[in-house]
Symmetry: C2
Subunit: 305 residues, 2 copies
């Protein structure tokens, strides 16, 4: 009855105004998702790597509750990404993308994981995302990510996927491109009319919005004085969101809101170090403390009477 | 013991993707500020207009509690501004600025207003803002706005002004330019080190942040499905903020937070119509209802225990 994530397991080289990774570091949507989620709940990863992948490092991360039984190791090179951020971290340049074994990734869900109830479909080809869904017996809550590449190139499959997921989780540029509407609240309604009950719009330093069932919930980004590396923040958000939702076990308004705050908190930890480093330094106590700090950030007492 | 605002009283021509003003409409920082603030508290405007100004229209707006005794009418043309917004309202082009009588504006505070306790210095030359401050006997809370033009051209006067105000209220681009730091939380600390106890950073559709005394408070923008004309939203925010603060009569954390929410609410009303039109259609009951809706937008229950 676990929490399942399907996505990339990659090696990153990152340069920010504050430094750069000295060597290739763990990256990829499934890795960031799991690093965050596993602080709260056990996670099952489905992915693929080449024989060159530093499995010892991945296993060290996995010790806190990530099941790697769905990570296939095959002949060939692992997925590699290299990028460089602008002075204010607001944009990034991709220096290199080498798909390697990821190019022919056909996710297979291990038989004993088909009972997974909470499923996150990381940013991969929507046809594969649909294929994964077909392998899960009776999911309770399915969320998916996507990107401009699929919105442009696999629109039909993506719209078919939307009919079958509970929540689309994207950034503001993506939902604008998908809906053709620059206004994110109208864009969210557009998505909801196509299947998902909920839309989560991630806006980086401007926080994130949950739209669904006539309700809107807003969580700010945590006001960090130092942001080190934004890579993976969105996937860490998804990890916090899905894990907290699974822990609640319900989809009430209260559960969804708390999941949003956990998502934002995990995103804020992700950006404090390169790669998944920060998640190796903290425990669920640190996460809970940050979640509490969010309440102080937004809480006000309305007028009496 | 009133609420005093000094700023521009102008005539605007505005074009947005949704339409354009058919004729010149009321505009200017002091007008937007007062239109919003007067829904909550009585307001005193200090400004200047030419003999061509539609005083009957301004008086109609003033009926709900704006004292125009500080608005001087002199020979010459009123301040005019014309602008056009981009398709997504994210940027605007100034088509025309004619300062007219505003170019030689030397604000004089009527003797009976020198006891004003809450003072908002709209976006005018910082030397004039200082001059106004010198005419107020014992202000309890002074906030000021500014813009890139003064940050670049009157930096020394602006820094001198900062030593004497309680709150700087600017947008994100302005605080970045002023501090030389792209990171708004560090930029806020930079400002606070130079005098003001508080900084309010307005971020348009991304809400607003109050930084001060080791605390940060975040209020989102209200999720409107239709935004008609962003002109004046920042000044309406200031009007709601200052008026609610004056009503509280105290500068507690709770008062400041509630003032921020009233500011954001007033900004959200401002953008729903051209000019100050929306403020003529609503009452304090509508404002209170929107403030209540903000609570639902951000409220969550943290974990038990």
């Amino acid at each position: 009855m676990g929490l399942l994530v399907v996505g990339s397991v990659a090696l990153d080289m990152v340069e920010t105004p504050f430094g750069k990774t000295e060597k290739e570091v763990l990256g990829g949507s499934a890795v960031f998702f799991s690093a965050a989620a596993s602080l709260l709940e056990k996670v099952r990863i489905v992915g693929v790597v080449g024989r060159d992948y530093p499995m010892a490092e991945l296993k060290r991360l996995a010790e806190r509750g990530i099941d790697l039984a769905g990570v296939t190791v095959i002949d060939g090179e692992s997925f590699r990404w290299a990028g460089k951020y602008s002075f204010d971290l607001s944009s990034r340049e991709t220096l290199e993308t080498r798909l390697g074994v990821f190019a022919s990734f056909r996710p297979t869900i291990p038989a004993e994981w088909r009972d997974s109830r909470f499923v996150f479909l990381g940013n991969i080809d929507p046809e594969l995302q649909l294929d994964v869904l077909n392998q899960v017996e009776k999911p309770q809550f399915v969320a998916c990510d996507t990107m401009n590449y699929w919105i442009q190139g696999k629109r039909t499959a993506l719209l078919k996927l939307l009919e079958r997921v509970d929540c689309l989780m994207v950034n503001d540029a993506e939902i604008r491109e998908l809906s053709g509407d620059w206004h994110i609240h109208r864009a969210a309604r557009w998505v909801i009319a196509r299947g998902p009950k909920y839309v989560v719009i991630k806006q980086g330093e401007h926080g994130a919005i949950l739209v669904g069932e006539g309700k809107t919930f807003y969580v700010p980004a945590f006001p960090l004085e130092e942001v080190y590396d934004p890579t993976g923040a969105g996937d860490a958000f998804a990890g916090g969101f899905m894990a907290r939702l699974k822990r609640s076990g319900s989809l009430t308004n209260a559960s969804l809101r708390l999941a949003m705050v956990y998502g934002s908190a995990m995103g804020s930890f992700a950006v404090e170090r390169f790669s998944v480093q920060r998640f190796l330094e903290i425990t669920d106590v640190d996460v809970a403390a940050r979640v509490k700090a969010y309440r102080d950030l937004v809480h006000f007492e309305p007028d009496q009477a």
